[in-house]
Amino acid sequence: MDTICEFCNAKMWIKERLAKSNNNNPHFSLCCENGKIMLPNLLTTPQELEVFLTSKERSAVKFRDQIRMYNSVLAFTSLGAKVDESVTRGNGSYSFYIQGELYHKIESLCLVEGLCPHFTQLYIHDTKSEY
């Protein structure tokens, strides 16, 4: 990926250019529709998160293995869908089979009695860690 899109700085292969453009002045539609889409960049990744995501240390490698679990702990919303369990049983690779729509859901601020706090509620009720 030796070519940079002049509009959005995306790294592209030269062969991905539009047929109308030439090698010296390549244009691309895959990234930003030739400059039509211009969005604010994502902000610089916080230092501590960057270390976890890039370091070769054992703890960081383990973190990346479990990144989806860490994310679930910190997320405000949870995933919802009508899952069909009939195909998830048995051997072979795991497949996630749902009917209808997939959605994100958010829960109320207070706990339902008898349940542990989860998702958003963790930020409110987990008083062990006071910040």
């Binding site: 039509k36 211009m38 990744t45 949870s78 109320s108 958003t120």
Partner: protein, 286 residues
């Protein structure tokens, strides 16, 4: 399954408390609830529409994304707004049109709660009506001419976000499995919206003309409801059965025109190629 590392989690939580606007608001809510004599029905209002031009670089502030309300403030104005009450039943669904749909679900990829897609992101060069952007008439006219729509579509948005750009905010690229989950989620959102379009625009797509439905109507007296409705995915719906048949027939037409094929070529890609390795970011491996 091994447990998560508590010290690491603690560091991440500290980071979230320092930079994430939502966490700040939730902390505020907690403090309010802890105060003695505080009103019991507190509501958190997650605002979907942004008043500022979202194309420009701006960090969402806590008071811009949420409003903390006591008792019956206003209900959701926009249908994508989310109002979290203190006790509002088991859960509430978030619309995928909400600007924070992804940011709320992937705090590790979007630690600052960066904006996601929403229906009103204009193309570059298209001028917002009430924005104080310099008018570039020629540019705007050119867009009028070429494009039927002036806003960035969902697929275009996610396509842009997933590019490997030369910028400093690379959490989305380093996310590994979380990135894959994000891509899957984005795909589902886009697909659901395409399907919804087909379902809600039956009249425009003239689904009733497809064989069967019109013939049945005269025969079954007044009981039309019993027929149900049939949603046909047109051949332009990529992935649908008509799309497959359409492509298959195209291929057969080419075959008839150009005679028997001599070769069947498939391409594979070796992730160990030096060209690919060269472009990986620090810490990434094929």
């Amino acid at each position: 399954m091994s447990l998560l590392d508590p010290t690491m989690l603690d560091q991440l939580l500290t980071m979230m408390y320092n930079i994430n606007p939502y966490v700040k608001v939730f902390k505020m809510a907690r403090d309010m609830m802890a105060t003695k004599g505080a009103p019991m029905d507190l509501k958190l209002h997650l605002i979907a529409s942004r008043t500022k031009d979202a194309r420009r670089y701006n960090v969402p502030m806590a008071d811009e994304v949420t409003a903390l309300m006591v008792r019956d403030g206003f209900e959701a104005i926009d249908k994508c707004d989310v109002v979290i009450a203190q006790q509002a039943g088991p859960f509430q669904r978030i619309s995928e049109l909400h600007v924070k749909y992804m940011a709320l679900h992937y705090p590790l990829l979007f630690p600052y709660d960066e904006d996601g897609w929403h229906p009103n992101i204009p193309f570059n060069g298209v001028v917002l009506q009430d924005a104080d952007v310099d008018l570039d008439e020629d540019h705007a006219k050119e867009f009028e001419h070429h494009r039927k729509h002036h806003n960035v579509t969902m697929a275009e948005f996610y396509g842009y976000r997933l590019q490997h750009q030369n910028i400093d905010g690379n959490a989305l690229l380093w996310g590994e499995r979380l990135r894959q989950q994000y891509i899957m989620d984005a795909y589902v959102v886009v697909e659901q919206n395409r399907l919804r379009y087909v379902r809600l625009n039956k009249k425009k797509l003239r689904g009733d003309l497809y064989q069967g439905l019109q013939d049945i109507v005269p025969t079954c007296d007044n009981n039309v409801v019993a027929i149900g409705h049939r949603i046909i995915l047109s051949s332009s719906f990529i992935g649908g059965p008509r799309h497959m048949v359409h492509n298959y027939q195209d291929a057969m037409a080419i075959y008839r025109w150009a005679c028997c094929p001599d070769m069947f070529v498939t391409f594979t890609c070796n992730p160990q190629w030096p060209e690919i390795k060269k472009t990986l970011l620090l810490g990434q491996q094929p």
